[in-house]
């Protein structure tokens, strides 16, 4: 075990390759995720962001290369990581309450305890009063928040969030971004956050990894932060913030064209 590395990086990805048959999704990707920080993965659709997240989660084996979480090699899912799925992955036959408590249910937490915890996180994500509704009775954004509450409730060290705000409206999205910043500040957790929005990435991230189109590698690592201490509204007008957004857009647009 690497003593120095473990204190600074919650997750380390080392020379990871991933092939799906003859499709090469990831090519020699290496990336460190500092402990207690939020790292965004930003890149064109289909470049392998979900794939990378699933490899870190231990849901997919890498074709070659290694992933360390707190210095230990990942061989499968673990209690130190929780996943927010891009497609929500809610149980359609279970109420919101059971869905949110499901992670705890699988960890054999007693019913009353896990439901109390779930209720707290349901309220936190703004779904109070919907505890006994079913997923098909919720909007896309509400379902997404159920998935978010489920991941938060298991209290994992590393949160893997695959476009967690993609289906919420702009106001909710901004509120969530601010809540997320609070979470990063207050809980000593490491967040790995996939998004398609450059502004969102710059706004919430300590570190942004720009990924190349398939086969994906990290093309650039950007560390915004000069404006982190400012209040939310002035950040969006901050010149450093706007410059970084612009730079990233310039890098990415070469792939769009």
């Amino acid at each position: 075990m690497d003593g120095i590395m473990t204190t600074t990086h919650a997750v380390e990805v080392r020379n990871v390759f991933k092939n799906y048959g003859d499709v090469e999704a990831l090519h020699d990707l290496s990336l460190d995720f500092p402990k207690g920080e939020l790292t965004s993965l930003l890149g064109p659709s289909g470049c392998g962001k979900t794939t990378l997240l699933k490899i870190i989660a231990g849901l997919l084996p890498a074709t070659s290369g290694e992933v360390f979480v707190n210095g230990e090699t990942v061989t499968g899912p673990g209690p130190d990581r929780a996943f927010v799925f891009q497609d929500f992955a809610l149980l359609p036959w279970a109420s919101v309450l059971r869905n949110v408590a499901f992670g705890l249910e699988l960890r054999n937490v007693p019913k009353s305890e896990r439901e109390a915890k779930a209720e707290k996180y349901i309220a936190d994500v703004g779904l109070k009063g919907f505890e006994h509704k079913y997923p098909h009775q919720l909007s896309g954004g509400m379902r997404q928040r159920v998935g978010l509450a489920r991941a938060l409730s298991v209290d994992a060290q590393v949160l893997l969030m695959d476009e967690p705000f993609s289906a919420v409206d702009e106001q909710t999205r901004r509120k969530f971004q601010e809540d997320l910043l609070d979470l990063v500040q207050n809980e000593n957790k490491t967040f790995i956050f996939v998004t398609h929005s450059i502004e969102e990435a710059v706004y919430v991230s300590d570190q942004i990894a720009l990924l190349l189109p398939r086969p994906s590698r990290v093309s650039e690592i950007i560390r915004p932060g000069g404006f982190r201490h400012k209040d939310p509204d002035s950040i969006r007008r901050d010149s450093e913030y706007l410059d970084i957004v612009d730079d990233i857009w310039k890098s990415l647009r070469t792939y769009v064209e």
């Binding site: 899912p77 673990g78 992955a89 098909h136």
Partner: protein
């Protein structure tokens, strides 16, 4: 008002049309062996008043019930196993695919040779009819559990057992139930076939006996009663199905 009762009105209308056509065909004398609708109903009334029909059903339902229960338990069990294990699928599925398309009538002499003409053979016939569709439906449903739900279970540290019991089974159960319903209707056919081909008992006996003494109204009354009974029973199963899965699986259907 009218719109609300439209399905019911249409059902009544089509029933009246069918029975009307039967009555007319019977009166027109399609065949001397084809009684009119009213004659058949009168015969059915006779059988009911005598109580013959009830003792007959008690007899017919025996192999049916035993066969369906066996097929349900073994069929769902095997189906789940097939759905979970590729190897087992490869090994066992072909048997049921063959069973589903095998000409049952040709197997009956073989069954009689091995199990005699008693209840056992009849139960076998019901099982041969009912089991394949239950097994194949269950296996398909289990195999098609949405991958993202299984991944979710794994990522939250569900054991294999948790994932089977808490994700795969509930996700598959509407389709398993539909398979069960198809199995029951196939079992009905099996039960009657067994009574016609092995030993005439129950409703099969009424049919065989009435035909032998050329009492065609009685024969048609018995056939008619089976159809009505099967439809009512399947309706009942469908009600249970709707009750159990009252729309909570809408999302499953759409994605």
């Amino acid at each position: 008002m009218f719109l609300r009762y439209r399905p019911l009105l249409l059902k009544i209308l089509s029933t009246v049309l069918i029975f009307g056509a039967w009555e007319i065909a019977g009166r027109a004398g399609v065949s001397f062996a084809f009684p009119t609708f009213l004659e058949s109903m009168a015969a059915l009334w006779g059988l009911t008043v005598e109580g013959t029909i009830f003792t007959a059903y008690a007899e017919t339902l025996k192999p049916l019930a035993v066969g369906i229960v066996i097929s349900a338990f073994i069929g769902i069990g095997l189906g789940v196993w097939i759905g979970l294990s590729r190897k087992f699928d490869w090994l066992v599925s072909p048997i049921f695919i063959v069973m589903q398309s095998a000409p049952l009538a040709a197997l009956i002499p073989l069954l009689i040779m091995v199990y005699g003409i008693g209840l056992t053979s009849k139960v076998f016939v019901v099982c041969i009819m009912a089991m394949p569709v239950i097994v194949l439906n269950t296996a398909g449903a289990v195999r098609n559990t949405p991958v993202h739900l299984i991944e979710m279970g794994q990522s939250f540290l569900g054991t294999r057992r948790d994932i089977i019991l808490k994700i795969i089974m509930p996700s598959a159960s509407p389709i398993i139930f539909a398979g069960l319903r198809l199995g029951v209707s196939a079992g009905f056919i099996g039960a009657i076939l067994a009574e016609l081909k092995i030993t005439p008992t129950g409703v099969g006996d009424i049919i065989t006996y009435s035909r032998s003494i050329a009492d065609y109204p009685n024969m048609y009354a018995a056939i008619f009663s089976i159809i009505v009974f099967a439809v009512l029973f399947l309706n009942f199963v469908e009600r249970i199905e709707n009750f159990l899965f009252k729309g909570n699986n809408k999302e499953l259907v759409s994605d």
